[in-house]
């Protein structure tokens, strides 16, 4: 079963302390919301978990293996996948090629045709099968978000971090993304979802982490966290 442990993560940029003693553990297919005001350190934490940044101090373990010393591709291969705040589709490659990359990267001897069937299934699940041979740059912003989610399905990680999956998305596509998260989570994959969409994050997540200027100020059941006075003061507003 999946176990991810972040131990006392600190991250400084010059004199700025972006993360201060952040520790938490994810056990099994949890569905976790990560919230905090702008500049709270959410994306920095994601970048540390994914290997793009090294922590100033602290460690990250996944299934007993230390992953904070690994490069991002090593973390991906260890079973952690992510999306980015700003969509990062491979724009001058076709939708199908976008999907084949993670599948091929995970298996050293695989050939493209081994994954074309799976890619088709993923595209149908995400309702963009008709776009398979189009260049990713031809897709709308929302469709590119779906493509990013599709790439994660092809990567097939144990844990998925989604950075602002609902930002700027049409309600109909939002439904697809919502369905994606719940169905994939039900299949046994853990999620950490960063979002400013409070309604969605409270409905969707079963555990909430709250960051405030680098401090993890709350970690628990969303309904309990919602009533936490420190969270109210820092983020949700006293009157909520």
């Amino acid at each position: 079963m999946l176990e991810l442990t972040a131990n006392s993560i600190y991250k400084n940029f010059g004199g700025l302390e972006v993360l201060k003693d952040v520790s938490f553990t994810v056990e099994g297919p949890e569905l976790i919301g990560l919230i905090g005001p702008n500049g709270a350190g959410k994306t920095t934490l994601t970048n540390i978990l994914d290997g793009a940044l090294k922590p100033t101090s602290g460690t990250v373990y996944m299934n007993g293996e230390r992953i904070d010393t690994r490069p991002p591709y090593g973390v991906a291969r260890a079973g952690l996948g992510r999306t980015f705040q700003v969509t990062r589709a491979f724009r001058r490659m076709t939708v199908l090629e976008n999907l084949l990359i993670p599948a091929m990267a995970m298996r050293a001897t695989a050939r493209q045709r081994d994954f074309e069937e799976k890619a088709q299934e993923v595209l149908e699940f995400l309702t963009i099968a008709h776009l398979r041979n189009e260049y990713a740059r031809a897709l709308s912003g929302g469709q590119q978000k779906l493509l990013e989610l599709g790439r994660l399905l092809m990567l097939d990680p144990q844990m998925i971090i989604l950075d602002e999956p609902f930002a700027g998305v049409h309600p109909r596509l939002m439904e697809v993304i919502y369905r994606y998260i719940t169905e994939i989570n039900a299949q046994g994959k853990a999620f950490i979802i960063i979002s400013h969409d409070m309604d969605t994050i409270f409905t969707l997540s079963r555990r909430l982490l709250v960051l405030n200027y680098g401090d993890l100020i709350a970690d628990g059941d969303p309904e309990v966290v919602r009533e936490d006075p420190e969270v109210k003061a820092a983020y949700l507003g006293e009157d909520e």
């Binding site: 591709y73 992510r82 724009r91 099968a129």
Partner: protein, 426 residues
């Protein structure tokens, strides 16, 4: 005919034409209006040389997004390595005592020459050894040309590995500046080290086939034509295979977004270094072969204008495809030569040897402004991706019809159910 089959057929026809072309040369006794003289054959060899450089640069810059200006430096490394081996290495059956002697199996010695100035004449230690220490009847053998060229390839790969590793974290402008710096350092070193490289005078290389081959003399254009054509076809086959494999997929992903590619499990360090190694080896191979064909290599091959020419060839043909880049290089090599003919407009004589470069620069500017993907690449795109838009629409229409049909079936079933229910029987 589907695009893949069209490529195969047109590619095969092109290869057959290129292989049979020398039959029409004057050397082979070609007759009729299309006799190809030795000047044409020389142009063809040069065109293949530039095609290897432009297509391998397109793999590096167009596919992998590594805008290196050091490609001609790798070409020169191949040429100079091969030339220097020819200049400084000999095999003998006895130690020279005056040079650096390295024993080899089978009673042979690898002798590294050093050049000494005796009075006003440069004389190698081996020349002196012949007079002083070497026993009579000692065999002195030049290294085979193919072995020198192979060493050129190895050096190209080694420097490719080194530069690829050094520029791992550099992007766009910084990468361009670094590689210009590398190229200029190499050019300055070659120019400065006159005792080794002959400086601006140029390093002489033995002919590709010193003793001739299959009845052709060492100065014939036919054997070098086939040698360069073979290298060109081999390079294209290798790059086609690479571009169609996981390598091609990953380097294009790196070009698009390095971080995203890494987050999806792509080992970006490995593939960035690998693309430098592969392309610099191909450039070195072309340089070594061309050096032996021309018979001399000078530091001027490293000037930025030469690099710009290769870049312009790839850009005008189509940077993001090895075929369009190579065809662009071949066409431009010939066009630049054809444009050498002076033009008279009334009393004004236009010296095209100078003005042709102006027209060439203008073509490059117009291509960049109006046809950024090159002049040939859009044609290839139209052939290979012509049906994609229609396919997208037809799949979408099919899916929509399917959804409507399913909805229709549901409505009909519901109506039937309602009609059959006891409440409706009255």
């Amino acid at each position: 005919m589907n695009p893949a089959a069209l490529y195969r057929v047109s590619g095969s026809i092109a290869v057959i034409i290129l292989v049979l072309l020398p039959l029409a040369s004057s050397e082979m006794g070609g007759v009729g209006p299309f006799v190809l003289n030795s000047y044409f054959m020389h142009l063809a060899i040069t065109a293949f040389f530039y095609a290897i450089l432009a297509s391998s640069w397109s793999l590096l810059a167009g596919y992998a997004g590594q805008f290196s200006f050091g490609h001609m430096a790798f070409m020169a490394i191949g040429g100079y390595t091969s030339g220097l081996i020819g200049k400084f290495i000999r095999f003998t059956t006895a130690p020279s005592e005056l040079c650096t002697d390295i024993p080899l199996p089978g009673n042979w010695w690898l002798v590294v020459l050093n050049i000494r100035r005796v009075g006003t004449i440069d004389e190698s230690c081996l020349d002196m050894a012949k007079a002083e220490t070497l026993p009579a009847g000692t065999l002195i053998v030049f290294p085979p040309v193919w072995a020198s060229i192979a060493m050129g390839l190895v050096m190209g790969a080694v420097f490719g590995l080194l530069v690829g590793w050094l520029v791992l974290r550099l992007r766009s402008t910084y990468l361009a500046l670094f590689t210009i710096g590398f190229s200029e350092i190499l050019r300055a070193s070659i120019s400065a080290e006159i005792p080794i490289t002959e400086g601006q005078s140029g390093l002489e290389l033995v002919p590709l086939f010193p003793a001739g081959i299959m009845g052709f003399s060492s100065t014939s254009k036919i054997p070098p034509y086939y040698a360069m054509l073979f290298l060109f076809l081999f390079a294209m086959a290798l790059m086609t295979w690479l571009a169609g494999s996981r390598f091609g997929l990953f380097v294009r992903a790196i070009r698009e977004d390095e971080e995203a590619a890494a987050a999806l499990g792509v080992n970006i360090v490995r593939y960035k270094v690998l693309v430098f190694v592969v392309t610099s080896t191909l450039a070195a191979a072309a340089g070594a072969l061309q050096g032996h064909y021309i018979g001399i290599i000078t530091p001027n091959t490293l000037i930025i204008l030469q690099m710009s020419l290769v870049i312009a060839m790839a850009v005008i043909g189509g940077l993001e495809n090895i075929y369009t880049a190579s065809v662009g290089a071949i066409i431009i090599t010939f066009v630049l030569e054809l444009l050498r003919t002076n033009v008279e407009i009334g009393p004004i004589l236009i010296d095209m040897t100078l003005w042709r470069l102006v027209f060439f620069g203008l073509l490059l500017m117009l291509t960049l402004r109006f046809q950024r993907n090159g002049l040939l690449f859009p044609i290839l795109e139209r052939i290979s991706r012509g049906g994609v838009a229609e396919e997208t629409v037809s799949i979408r229409v099919e899916e929509e019809e399917l959804v409507e049909d399913e909805a229709g079936v549901d409505v009909e079933a519901e109506e039937e159910e309602r009609a059959a229910s006891p409440g409706n029987s009255k």
